[in-house]
């Protein structure tokens, strides 16, 4: 187990390094630069800016400087948002996205798992069909459509909910629905199909034959096995959701991290691209390690080697 963990962590470090390296060279291959705008800056000013941020150095040298700084925890200054460090942007915006994303993931789990189980148990009945329809919608309809519909209905038309910001619990309702809709639908489907699978197993019949009550069969024997695919899905999904959604943040005017991913790339803010990419990569890798651990706890038969 310890050996396995060490191996996993080493692998995680290599993964993040590879992501960082590939991103670094790819972004420098894309034409454009951080100091370009529709109005040309004088060559002197551009040269001064490049010197200030070390962009006048050869690419390889920049790569090694960046990596060594990053290892020391220094992710540099944002090239576009002058006066802010990459770290300060992430620490300022991530908590906002994380809170919203966390609530959304919890909502998705609390709704998705029971509804998925219910659909499996009532297979072929009306409830199952209803849940299927809802989950199909959830997967097929993109979040911007949901956002716009919610915004129009509850924000503009009925005026029940505020349309922008996150300053009270009411502000959370629409963005949480928009963010949780897809994962809820997906978890429902996963849960339903794996539950159906499990219910067919021999040990379920044995348990039933032994006279274990319905609730306990479901909770102790079925759910525990059926939840594994959901655990696999939730790890990376959590990483993506807590780092914010570009679309939802734009529409509901939420100062989260999601917009920075896109903004950094279109603005060629090299240091911010690197910072946000490394941050997301690390989060995903950590989530995957945690998922493995959770596997082991849920199903002791799984050997972590």
């Amino acid at each position: 187990m310890v050996k396995y963990m060490i191996k996993r962590i080493l692998l995680a470090v290599v993964t993040v390094w590879a992501v960082a390296t590939i991103t670094f060279f790819l972004m420098n291959m894309v034409p454009g630069g951080p100091f370009l705008s529709e109005k040309a800056i004088s060559p002197q000013a551009t040269a001064a800016l490049e010197a200030k941020y070390g962009l006048d150095k050869p690419l390889l040298q920049r790569y090694f400087t960046y990596m060594s700084d990053a290892l020391h925890g220094d992710f540099g200054d944002s090239l576009k948002q002058r006066g802010r460090t990459v770290m300060s942007i992430i620490t300022m915006k991530f908590p906002v996205s994380a809170r919203l994303g966390g609530i959304s993931v919890l909502t998705a789990l609390c709704l998705g798992i029971p509804l998925g189980c219910m659909a499996a148990l009532k297979r072929g009945k009306f409830l199952d069909s209803l849940i299927s329809v809802v989950s199909t919608c959830g997967i097929a309809v993109p979040s911007f459509v949901i956002c716009t519909l919610l915004m129009y209905l509850f924000g503009v038309h009925l005026k029940w909910l505020p349309t922008m910001g996150l300053s009270s619990w009411k502000h959370y309702i629409m963005p949480v629905i928009a963010l949780a809709f897809y994962p809820t639908a997906y978890i429902m489907r996963l849960m339903r199909s794996s539950m159906l699978d499990v219910l067919e197993q021999d040990y379920m019949r044995t348990a039933k034959a032994k006279g274990v009550s319905g609730f306990w069969i479901l909770f102790k024997h079925a759910l525990r096995n059926a939840i594994l695919p959901v655990v696999t899905y939730v790890g990376p999904m959590l990483a993506y959701t807590v780092t914010g959604s570009f679309v939802v943040e734009k529409i509901f005017v939420i100062p989260g991290l999601g917009g920075e991913f896109i903004g950094a790339i279109s603005g060629r803010d090299y240091t911010l691209i690197m910072g946000t990419t490394i941050f997301l990569a690390t989060l995903i890798v950590v989530m995957n390690v945690l998922v493995d651990l959770v596997y082991k706890i849920v199903d002791p038969r799984i050997k972590l080697k």
Partner: protein, 575 residues
């Protein structure tokens, strides 16, 4: 059973852990800087009177009575609001309300006293002397003197600051070249006493007054910059300013709240307690906020809503100084032939483009220099151009097309035969794609095969600047109303001369406009330059820019300027 519980607890803690860490950090500003506590407390102490406004607004609800906070939207997060660094219009709008330069511009576009109550120019036009008002103060209550201007103007030249507009606003000041090379004290700006600021120019500049009112040359406080470095302009506490408002709260990505600056010399004329700049990027989100009344003015109106808004009393269309034009790569065939360029220009039905395709949010352009550019005698530059007639008669499209066909024939490409296939490059925003499709059709009628290439924004600018294109969309919005600001674009060595227009006569006319002290001669030189440009079709003007926005009738006493700025400082909200 225990293990099962553990499973769920673990999953729950994973989520909660992340959620909770969000909760803890959310309300404290990142990076609070111990070294600036002094400034912070000063700022707080001096602005106690405005505290009500801040707390009222922290709830995020609509305006409360008593302390009127005007809620507006002019764009997303500004990249920077450091006056020396800003080059964007949305940042400029915020600077306009938080800073004041030596001079200011009034509702009619005339220069009026700002921090300086009077100013004079020497006879040779080289020495400009500004006399500051009595008792000027920073928003933190400390005194503002002429030395602050000396520091601020030198800072604009500092290569370590790398101000994008340095050359535009200070290039004519004596010692500029040495200053940008690093010797800041070479810049000939001086403060003989606390209330007098003297600038010496290396060559006369008749529009230097406009530059003295340009946001880049706002005074900035050395104390806060020394203490906080570049980060001074990223936090409300360290953002010391001298304008009608100061920043009392700033949540990046959400809003900037400005409160009335009681230390401003003209604070008695300010009726609002504050202005909330909602940093909304998405036009539909802005429109929803406007419809619910959360925001009383929005700049970003969804284009699909425009047809239904035209004619409404709260929908405004107002010109700004700028032109939507097409650049042709003059180094490439067939654009090196003036007749081909002219034919391409005449084939465009500008009225159709501006009024139908662009839904009336642009105005058809028959000249390069549109409304809002001011001639040396104070009249509209456009009224005196080409004897008062537009260079291109936009009302006679059919005749124009006939003429275009004739010109092509003259160039040896009758019915477009023999012309290579042309690529038109543009980024995808606003009406750019629609215009591209129109050009495909309009130039197609001349027998030209036009390929449209959509380029991602970040790559588009360098591609155009490197001359790596056939024809492309281009545009310019002026910084100040002197016509040289836009005519300089076509000067052979200008960094924005994307078409690489290179005409000795044009350059000579621009040279004259830079050095002459005689207003009439200068005006003549500028008009001559435009004459040459239009005769040679150095670029193809298509439409003049307008700002179009929604503004509630509740807002009184505000105005919009041809620079793309909204003046809300003297506004009020009617109940």
């Amino acid at each position: 059973m225990k293990k099962r519980v553990l499973t769920f607890m673990l999953a729950a803690t994973m989520v909660l852990g992340l959620t909770a860490c969000g909760g803890n950090n959310n309300n404290t500003p990142a990076d609070s800087n111990a070294s600036n506590t002094n400034t912070e407390s000063n700022n707080a102490a001096n602005n106690e009177s405005s505290d009500n406004a801040t707390t009222d607004n922290a709830t995020g609800e609509t305006v409360t009575t008593g302390d009127k906070i005007l809620s507006v939207q002019v764009g997303p997060d500004p990249e920077t609001i450091d006056p020396a660094l800003n080059s964007a219009v949305d940042g400029g709008n915020m600077l306009l309300h938080s800073f004041e330069c030596l001079l200011a511009v009034d509702q009619d576009g005339k220069l009026i006293p700002g921090q300086a109550e009077s100013w004079e120019t020497s006879e040779d036009g080289l020495t400009w002397t500004f006399h500051l008002r009595d008792g000027l103060k920073w928003s933190d209550g400390s005194d503002l003197t002429a030395n602050d201007f000396v520091y601020s103007w030198k800072r604009v030249c500092d290569p370590m600051v790398a101000a994008p507009y340095a050359e535009t606003v200070l290039g004519m000041v004596a010692g500029y070249q040495d200053a940008v090379a690093g010797n800041l004290d070479a810049l000939q700006v001086a403060a003989p006493d606390d209330k007098t600021f003297v600038v010496t120019l290396s060559n006369p500049c008749s529009y230097f007054g406009s530059l003295a009112a340009f946001a880049t040359l706002s005074p900035v406080q050395q104390a806060t910059i020394d203490a906080n470095g570049d980060a001074w302009a990223t936090k409300a506490e360290t953002y010391i300013c001298n304008g009608p408002f100061y920043i009392s709260e700033w949540v990046p990505g959400s809003h900037i709240l400005m409160s009335k600056n009681t230390n401003y010399w003209n604070a008695d004329a300010i009726k609002l307690a504050g202005i909330k700049w909602n940093l909304i990027e998405d036009a539909n989100a802005a429109y929803s906020a406007y419809q619910t009344g959360e925001v009383l003015m929005i700049k970003d109106v969804p284009t699909e809503e425009i047809p239904s808004l035209l004619g409404n009393s709260d929908f405004f269309v107002d010109p700004i100084i700028g032109t939507y034009y097409l650049s042709l790569n003059l180094n490439r065939e067939p654009f090196n032939d003036a007749n081909v360029r002219k034919a391409l220009s005449l084939a465009i039905d500008r009225e159709y483009v501006a009024n139908t395709l662009m839904q009336g949010t642009y105005t058809a352009a028959g000249n390069f220099m549109g409304p809002g550019w001011i001639d040396t005698d104070g009249s509209q530059f456009m009224d005196n151009a080409n004897g008062g007639k537009p260079y291109i008669d936009i009302t006679t499209h059919e005749a124009n097309v006939k003429e275009a066909e004739r010109l092509l024939e003259e160039a040896g490409y009758a019915n477009g035969e023999g012309l290579p296939s042309i690529t038109y490059s543009t980024n995808d925003a606003g009406y750019h794609k629609v215009v591209a499709e129109y050009l495909q059709q309009a130039w197609g009628e001349l027998g030209i095969d036009l390929q449209v290439e959509i380029v991602e924004w970040g790559s588009f600018t360098p591609m155009r600047r490197n001359g790596d294109y056939d024809s492309s969309r281009n545009g310019w919005v002026g910084d100040y109303s002197d016509p040289s600001n836009m005519l300089d674009l076509l000067y052979s060595t200008n960094g924005n001369n994307d078409g690489k227009f290179n005409n000795a006569e044009y350059d000579a006319a621009m040279e004259v406009s830079r050095t002459t002290l005689d207003a009439a001669e200068r005006s003549q030189a500028l008009h001559k330059a435009e004459d040459i440009l239009m005769a040679e079709t150095g670029c193809i003007p298509v439409a003049y820019y307008n700002d179009f926005w929604l503004q509630s009738e509740k807002i009184t006493g505000s105005w919009h300027s041809p620079y793309g700025y909204w003046y809300f400082m003297y506004a009020d909200i009617a109940e």
